[in-house]
Symmetry: C2
Subunit: 96 residues, 2 copies
């Protein structure tokens, strides 16, 4: 299984817009992608400008399917308008 | 729901020992704590010294129960012997 943690820095005045866009992506992903075992957005308790998308995929094919999805492609440009800098994407292999 | 991401730096010669200790903690947590919705260990694909424990809890009570568990308390000192520095613990509120 593959884990991805995407880290976003969002100015506080853009938080609502960001959560709406990212929320749509979460809903569409969870509704349409059986290969995705987890796709959830969380906000840092100490630093409200920090968000993480926690993602788990059955395999690389599930990751590829996600990245090719209409909802993922649609979210990119919209997210670009509310972020402070590019997201940091870290990819992991689940070991336990 | 509450998310926690714990980040560990593990020298490569300690990886096997770390995965054994952390693996036991993952197994005991998943077997005994219904309030824990996710508890999984993953290793960075690019930097093999980096591990993340991705954790999801129903609520703060589930977090407290976990931290008070025998298996969590037992793992702490053992992990201390195989880590490079202290783990970084980040706590989040799930928003989507």
């Amino acid at each position: 299984m593959i884990a991805i943690i995407a880290s976003f820095t969002v100015p506080e005045d853009k938080a609502e817009a960001f959560e709406a866009i990212a929320g749509e992506l979460v809903a569409a992903t969870n509704a349409n992608e059986p290969g995705v075992k987890l796709y959830t957005l969380a906000r840092d308790k100490k630093d409200p400008t920090q968000y993480r998308m926690m993602e788990l995929y059955e395999d690389q094919a599930a990751v590829d399917t996600h990245m090719a999805s209409d909802w993922f492609k649609a979210a990119g440009p919209k997210l670009g308008g509310v972020l402070d800098g590019r997201p940091k994407i870290e990819q992991f292999t689940v070991v336990a």
